[in-house]
Subunit: 290 residues, 2 copies
């Protein structure tokens, strides 16, 4: 089994012209990402537009990806939904495929929730899943989800469910936040949620990064992971600055579309809107050579 560490790409989810998930483009993309140096991929994270797909679309795409030959040991599946019952459904589906783990947002619609509320929600989900639980990574991305996981709650959950909670992805983008999680859940697999914190994170005990930019920049991120050299982050920072001129998910898809000369790759689901081929070409040209 692939260990929960290293460089993981928060994979984009390609769609067809009718916006249906596209398993063929996805399998080819995942194969490229592994060849480019990723240890694995996260299917249906924020970058993968997870919450823009129905539960049935999500379980079906995972089924198809694995039927088509993808290695489940190199896949972490995003499963967190607004409705905890949907999170249970998706987690069971992922567990049945013996994936490396699942990445679990807290229920994210209600905002005025306490640590005790979120702790009880995670506990309810874990109880529903029972003994077949896969390795769970908690997922902190408060600037998108609107719901912050505290280090103290993460530590409590890791302590209370040691056979289930195996780590966390911190996408806050804040090194202090990452340090808090590392201190609160020693021995757990804590990933930086951005490649920009990969090297400083590794120095403090993080196990690696789950990165959106790895969709277009996996080789450079692999180099930084292997060298652990701060200098190797510079090129990653340059790439991020270029991507950040546009909405990041449409920008990543547009760059893939341009590089593969496959304009359909740029398609996104609502509420995101695709970039034009011209903007995609400009981004691809400006980016450091992959």
């Amino acid at each position: 089994m692939t260990s929960l560490s290293g460089v993981w790409a928060a994979s984009l989810t390609p769609v067809t012209p009718t916006l249906d998930p596209d398993p063929d483009r996805l399998l080819a993309h995942v194969t490229r990402l592994l060849a480019d140096g990723c240890d694995g991929i996260v299917l249906f994270g924020t970058t993968g537009e997870a919450t823009s797909f129905s539960v049935a679309e999500r379980t079906d795409l995972l089924d198809r990806l694995i039927e088509a030959g993808a290695d489940p040991a190199r896949i972490i599946v995003g499963v967190g939904c607004a409705a905890a019952v949907d999170t249970v459904t998706l987690t069971r589906s992922a567990a049945a495929h013996e994936v490396a783990g699942v990445l679990m947002l807290p229920p994210f619609y209600y905002k005025a929730v306490s640590d005790d509320d979120l702790g009880a929600a995670y506990g309810w989900i874990f109880d529903q899943i029972g003994a077949d639980a896969p390795a769970v990574l908690l997922y902190n991305i408060p600037q998108v989800s609107g719901v912050k996981l505290s280090a103290s709650l993460a530590g409590r959950l890791a302590g209370a469910y040691p056979d289930v909670v195996k780590g966390l992805k911190d996408s806050s983008g804040d090194l202090e936040s990452l340090r808090g999680f590392l201190a609160a859940m020693p021995g757990s697999a804590v990933f930086a949620g951005t490649e920009l914190l990969l090297v400083p994170g590794l120095a403090e005990g993080a196990v690696g990064a789950i990165s959106a930019a790895a969709n277009i920049n996996a080789g450079h991120i692999r180099t930084a992971f292997d060298s652990k050299a701060a200098a190797d982050i510079d090129i990653l920072r340059e790439a991020r600055a270029i991507l950040s001129a546009e909405a990041v998910i449409p920008a990543l898809k547009a760059v893939v579309a341009e590089r593969l000369n496959d304009p359909g790759w740029a398609t996104v689901r609502p509420p995101l809107r695709p970039l034009t081929p011209e903007i995609g070409a400009g981004l691809a040209e400006a980016l450091p050579v992959a």
Copy 2:
């Protein structure tokens, strides 16, 4: 057909001890609300814990409620999901029952979205639904959804889809915000999302209120709607202040449980947690007589 105006309760969604939707308790509750003076009820708004249920649970509960005899002309169905495809599914289900309308949140996971993004998302949803679209009320509740609808976008959508967009519920709690929507979409059915703005809202052209507190306070809200007297808001303000000492949805369920002597009514879904019967009894005693 019941017109889109007046006093509508944002109905609670009762659940069984295993957290399944409870159609029997719901039908009894809806019947009481109509008897207490509501013109209709919203099923699966924020107060109804809509986003804590799966799409299948939501369509099934609507089916059962109507099979059991509820009048679809007195029901507005909340349909907005993080995934626009789920919003389409729920809207079709509601349209098939010929309900009075649907209440539609924008896709609410991604936060860095522009008016153009949200406009395109609504447009995509309306195109999918096509000619069978029910009356759509847009739903602005930025403090919970994390996604604000601007008055300018609401006006654009009402103008571009006059056969579909028939109104809006503004749950911002801000009279200035309500005024903005009223000015931007003249002739549309704009509801105050709180009974506290019912009387000032009516004076400026709002058609009524869709209210959470109506679950326990429908008679007083009816009185205020009929009198249009500012003085009749005082008792509604007093009730709100008492409820606000606790999380509002668990508080409303706990009060219903206490009044009906039915402790199971207090059950909520994660990430909310139920109040104790003691707290529910205290709230019920403190509230103005219904």
